[in-house]
């Protein structure tokens, strides 16, 4: 019978594990336990076996071993792909929100210091505005510097999310790009949950409030949620936009299932899917002529 501190042979002899927690953990991973003829261990066995000195050491060693094993399992669980990704996407959205607020506030402050300044008749983007604010010699200038740094950190985070999603969800990423795919996964909760969603749900993911007002009353139904951020949706002509969204939602539902159950890029699916989406997109262009 194998226990955490060593193996007890049928003849009663015992082989203790030698070493520290690491060796004990390795031994546990190798055990193959059979519940049918289970004999609960007792601390005396471990003492007799020579694995520990006394009961106190028994409990102490066992506790440290269990903590180490549990921490390992927690780590393995969290690094299982999309759990960290979801947190990263939520952080990105939160950063967007915070950075915009800070720029708005800093601009108001800048206007007070520079009564002659006005944004009228010249288009000053948020980025340029930060550059102007940074020139201030007061604490406002230093804050501008911090906002700038945060923006570049945001860009870095965005790139990381995108490249990670390419690995975790290669098919979804191929269809809509890493960032949009990551946002969809985040909104769905996880890749597992997204893979179980119907196409129509993926299509309007992120447009919940519009969907529920539609279901309650007589507003038109939402055509797109997060997938609107994808270029083939927002660049399409209004006449075919709903159609592009529907087709894309359908293909994404298949892609999510492929990503979750196979986890690799499937060109036999992606190539015709891309063609189909491009075709529906091009219908709008022709109508314009």
């Amino acid at each position: 019978m194998q226990y955490w501190f060593g193996d007890i042979n049928p003849d009663g002899s015992c082989v203790p594990v030698k070493g520290e927690i690491k060796e004990f953990a390795a031994h546990y991973r190798d055990t193959d336990f059979d519940m049918d003829n289970f004999v609960p261990l007792s601390p005396e066995d471990a003492v007799n076996c020579g694995a520990v000195k006394d009961q106190d050491e028994y409990l102490e060693k066992l506790r440290l071993l269990c903590i180490a094993l549990a921490e390992e399992k927690i780590r393995a669980h969290y690094t299982k792909g999309d759990i960290e990704l979801v947190q990263m996407v939520r952080m990105l959205d939160e950063m967007d929100h915070v950075i915009n607020l800070l720029i708005e506030r800093a601009t108001e402050w800048y206007l007070v210091l520079n009564p002659k300044f006005s944004r009228k008749y010249k288009s000053v983007s948020a980025k340029q505005m930060v550059a102007i604010i940074r020139r201030e010699k007061t604490s406002l200038g230093r804050l501008g510097y911090e906002i700038d740094r945060m923006s570049s950190e945001r860009t870095r985070l965005m790139k990381e999310i995108s490249s990670r999603t390419d690995i975790i969800a290669p098919n979804c990423s191929a269809l809509v790009g890493g960032l949009v795919a990551a946002r969809l996964i985040s909104k769905a909760g996880s890749l597992a949950q997204m893979s179980r969603m119907p196409a129509s749900a993926i299509q309007v993911l992120g447009a919940e409030s519009a969907l529920f007002t539609h279901l309650k009353g007589n507003t038109p139904s939402p055509k797109h949620g997060i997938i609107f951020q994808h270029r083939r949706v927002h660049n399409s002509k209004a006449k075919v936009r709903g159609r592009v969204s529907r087709v894309l939602g359908g293909k994404l539902a298949i892609a999510a299932k492929l990503d979750y159950f196979r986890g690799e890029l499937v060109p036999e699916f992606i190539d015709p899917a891309q063609k189909r989406i491009d075709y529906v997109f091009s219908l709008g262009e022709e109508n314009k002529k």
Partner: protein, 201 residues
């Protein structure tokens, strides 16, 4: 059990989860903990310093920390990673808690760690609660007791709690356990029942 002015308490270092202190003791609220509720409803309930306990469904380790104040040692089994992080933190300060990250429905995962115990305490939100308890009986000493906190709503929401309760009693009895006591945890926890069984064979 230590009861001061009608309030259940335990002796130990406080501040585990923001619990109130009273004359140097940690208040063990029956509204939060099902075991505390049981102790209020059945004044005979007792925990003593010789007990070894297998605790299934340890969650964040709040009830576990009170158990640890009373008994010899607690083998605390929990499956979900988030509460496990908290449970590990509790076991760093309370050295008689062995935190085990495993599925209570799969005892072979943690069988190499657990010695035979005097009490199995189960508080899991699974539909097959009675089955899980029976699976864990090999760890229980002869004459030891099983305390099952039955979450009837987790078994089946469409069936009335009373039916679930009676079905579970039957299932436990058929497995050879002797039912010593069974009660509802009203008014502290709704639709929760407590079943206490003894293992005779």
């Amino acid at each position: 059990m230590i009861i001061i002015d009608g309030v259940l308490v335990s002796k130990g270092q406080g501040g585990v989860y923001g619990e109130k202190m009273m004359k140097g003791y940690r208040v063990w609220s029956p509204n939060r903990s099902k075991f505390a509720a049981l102790a209020m409803i059945r004044p005979g309930t007792d925990l003593n310093p010789d007990l070894k306990v297998l605790y299934l469904g340890a969650a964040n380790g709040t009830t576990v920390s009170h158990f640890a104040d009373y008994v010899n040692c607690v083998y605390a089994v929990e499956f979900a990673p988030r509460p496990m992080q908290d449970l590990i933190e509790v076991s760093r300060r309370r050295t008689n808690i062995i935190p085990i990250m495993a599925d209570a429905g799969n005892p072979r995962e943690y069988a190499p760690f657990v010695e035979s115990v005097d009490m199995v305490y189960q508080d899991v939100a699974q539909p097959n609660q009675a089955e899980i308890a029976i699976m864990n009986l090999p760890f229980l000493k002869k004459g030891g007791i099983l305390i099952l906190m039955l979450k009837t709503r987790s078994v089946d929401v469409t069936v009335s709690p009373k039916t679930v309760f009676l079905d579970t009693l039957k299932e436990l009895e058929e497995s050879g356990l002797e039912i010593e006591d069974a009660c509802w945890l009203e008014p502290y926890h709704h639709d929760h029942a407590c079943i206490i069984c003894r293992k005779n064979s």
